[in-house]
């Protein structure tokens, strides 16, 4: 439970899809489990961007954010912030 509470929602941006394939949710889960360990539960991956660019939304701890930031192919990891109507 305490681990769950420490998790916040982050966006992991990975740029364009590799030329020969489109990254899917299962691919993102596999990547996260390889990086974070099998403790990463698939339901913590909230959304995968699959159609126009590569990236995903996941609930991560601060330690996991650090690990994911160093993952191959990751361009940026930033909190799921809020924007306002203008």
């Amino acid at each position: 439970n305490s681990e769950h509470e420490d998790r916040k929602t982050y966006i992991v941006y990975m740029g364009s899809h590799p030329k020969d394939r489109v990254s899917t949710r299962s691919h993102h889960v596999r990547m996260l489990q390889e990086t974070i360990g099998s403790s990463f539960a698939p339901h913590s991956l909230l959304h995968s961007y699959e159609r126009s660019f590569n990236g995903f939304v996941a609930k991560l701890t601060e330690v996991e954010v650090q690990k994911v930031s160093e993952m191959k192919g990751v361009i940026s990891v930033f909190p799921n912030g809020k924007k306002q109507l203008h």
């Binding site: 941006y13 740029g15 159609r51 660019f53 939304v57 940026s76 930033f78 909190p79 924007k83 306002q84």
Partner: protein, 626 residues
């Protein structure tokens, strides 16, 4: 929109290419859409264009039609605010307003309870709308912004309208909006964005990525006045959007400073801060406050007849209020205060708004965010300005027009202000230009809008280009710009190299083999941008070269001469100063060199390429970075 399009020359009779315009799909990322609005009737529209690959989130009370061809909602965390409607229906009104400003059909005799009466219409009324609901009553989350971009790009929209922004500037690839717009640009889709409402402070512009269009908000020639009449016969012109008619009846007038609530004194209650005035003593009266009170924050005046506000704030941000309201300057306010305090039984009434005309217009609204660009100061932002003050457009009848929860008016049209309103005007003009030139890139569309903009007066806009960018959008001229400053993804990747991004990163962003080298530092000056900016310090000697190229889209055989106007202290040269084109589509290169120094915080000039038929104008701005 009952005035804005005519104001900038895009009349109902303007030349159009209906068969192409009706194939244009505008993606609106906002609060959703109200499909039953008269602006979105689909009579006369054929089936969706073949390129459309999107979908409609149909439910028992929501469906699309041949006008609104797609609608989806995004809530990645799955937790919906209690009062929001799940699905793409707009319970706010903002998204409906934006969508109808871009592409709403013609609605005759539209008005907000009689105000702003006329024919409401979008800039490209034949175009189709795809609505992506990313904003809810608790804001617009980055995850949802990106999910909508992911879909809109793949769905086949031609242009994206985005009237949303963050509070703080973020680096390009830590910002969901810049990321989404970059991938849109890669697919040939221009994203038009609101510049923000944090003006008039400097460095407040938001949505400043060079691959998107950043739009400031300016006035039309129409303004709304809400008069105040005192019991002694004197009358004053205030502002606000006041749809309420008190029929001239005089009501008791009370000064808020004289009726403090328990725990407050008059020095606080005079400003009408929340709960600072006695609730019982406002009932049946018109309350005079020494400050502006947000229309969403008036529940503590329940039972009051109306509110008169006076302060020094600019009077170009006018709101609809949930009760009769007028907002005046301190000069008039002092006279009303004096009357309220020195008369034994002071009375007043607030008149329903009437239409007036600005004598000198357009000017950029005080609230519109100002440059310089907070991340890349050598790229001028905002790019241009468009109508964003008191815009009448479609609304959701379940969205309170003032934003106040207790506002029970159910309206199909609302009059509101913001860069959210100017952005869809620019979106529509870009779509209009695209209907004449379907193959033009996002950069070409941007260039056409920027280089043909109506000049705006620096004497009305002290922040000059940092307020209005290249000037005011000019739809008719934008169709035929003569020359365009084109740019492709490769140009933006090189720009990113110059911003310090690594080869590895730009390869991942672009998905190709682009590479950066050590000599890429000054590439910002080589991005083929249709404006020129340079940050420096006062009295520092400068010598900066900009490399540009222009593509001929005017007449096959044409010769353009460079006309430079520069401020004192700066020597601006163009080499070559004559460009002779032999064919359409031909691209020629030139360099602009700025030398000298500045003695004030901002020095403005311009470069105009003139062939006798076209004037391709770019602003040149040198400014003190401090």
């Amino acid at each position: 929109t009952t005035r804005s399009w005519d104001f900038m020359g895009l009349s109902q009779q303007a030349s159009r290419v209906p068969s192409v315009e009706s194939d244009i799909i505008v993606g609106v990322l906002d609060t959703g859409i109200w499909p039953e609005s008269p602006s979105f009737l689909d009579q006369g529209y054929g089936p969706p264009p073949r390129k459309w690959k999107g979908s409609c989130e149909v439910s028992s009370d929501f469906s699309c039609n041949n006008k609104i061809i797609g609608a989806r909602s995004y809530r990645t965390n799955g937790q919906y605010p209690i009062n929001d409607i799940q699905g793409p229906r707009d319970s706010n009104g903002h998204g409906t307003h934006a969508a109808s400003t871009v592409a709403g059909g013609l609605v005759r005799q539209a008005s907000m309870l009689g105000l702003g009466s006329g024919t409401a219409r979008g800039g490209v009324p034949s175009a189709r709308i795809a609505s992506y609901k990313i904003c809810w009553s608790d804001g617009c989350r980055d995850a949802d912004v990106l999910a909508a971009f992911d879909d809109a790009i793949a769905d086949g929209v031609d242009i994206i309208s985005f009237s949303v922004g963050g509070r703080k500037p973020r680096d390009y690839f830590n910002d969901s909006i810049a990321i989404g717009a970059f991938h849109a640009m890669k697919k040939g889709i221009l994203t038009s964005m609101s510049a923000g409402n944090s003006g008039p402070k400097s460095f407040t512009v938001r949505n400043f990525s060079p691959w998107s269009l950043s739009v400031a908000a300016s006035t039309t020639d129409r303004k709304f006045l809400s008069g105040v009449q005192l019991g002694d016969g004197r009358s004053f012109d205030g502002v606000t959007i006041n749809t309420f008619d008190l029929n001239g009846t005089q009501y008791p007038l009370v000064y808020a400073g004289n009726i403090p609530n328990i725990g407050f004194n008059g020095s606080i209650s005079r400003f009408c801060l929340t709960n600072s005035v006695d609730k019982e003593l406002v009932k049946g009266k018109i309350v005079l406050c020494d400050f502006f009170v947000s229309p969403t924050n008036l529940s503590f005046l329940e039972g009051a007849i109306g509110i008169i506000m006076q302060d020094n704030n600019p009077k170009d941000l006018t709101f609809p209020f949930p009760l009769p309201a007028s907002h005046l300057g301190t000069q008039e306010g002092a006279l009303i205060s004096s009357y309220a305090n020195l008369t034994s039984l002071p009375t007043a009434t607030i008149l329903k708004s009437t239409e007036g005309k600005y004598k000198e217009t357009p000017f950029v609204a005080s609230f519109s965010s100002r440059g310089p660009n907070p991340i890349t100061p050598d790229i001028l932002k905002p790019d241009l300005s468009g109508p964003g003050v008191e815009i009448l457009a479609a609304w959701s009848p379940i969205g309170p027009p003032s934003g106040a929860e207790d506002d029970t008016r159910q309206l199909l049209f609302n009059i509101i202000s913001g860069t959210s309103m100017s952005c869809p005007h620019a979106t529509a003009v870009a779509a209009y230009v695209k209907s004449f030139h379907p193959s033009w890139s996002p950069a070409a569309l941007k260039s056409a809008l920027m280089t043909t903009a109506f000049p705006m007066r620096a004497d009305l806009n002290p922040d000059a280009e940092f307020a209005y960018g290249s000037g005011h959008i000019n739809p008719l001229s934008a169709v035929n710009p003569g020359l365009i400053y084109n740019a492709t993804e490769i140009d933006y990747v090189r720009f990113l190299c110059g911003q310090g991004y690594s080869t590895k990163l730009v390869q991942q962003v672009s998905g190709d083999n682009s590479s950066c080298s050590r000599g890429d530092i000054d590439l910002v000056f080589d991005l083929n941008y249709p404006s020129f900016a340079l940050s420096t310090s006062i009295s520092t000697s400068i010598s900066q070269v900009y490399r540009r190229r222009v593509t001929n889209v005017g007449s096959a055989n044409s010769t353009y001469k460079a006309i430079v106007s520069g401020p004192l202290g700066l020597n601006i040269t163009v080499n070559p100063s004559v460009l002779s084109f032999k064919a359409l589509g031909e691209e020629l290169r030139f360099e602009v060199t700025i030398e000298g120094s500045i003695s004030s915080s901002i020095a403005s000039g311009s470069l105009v390429w003139d062939d006798g038929k076209h004037k391709v104008k770019s602003p040149i701005v040198v400014f003190d970075e401090n």
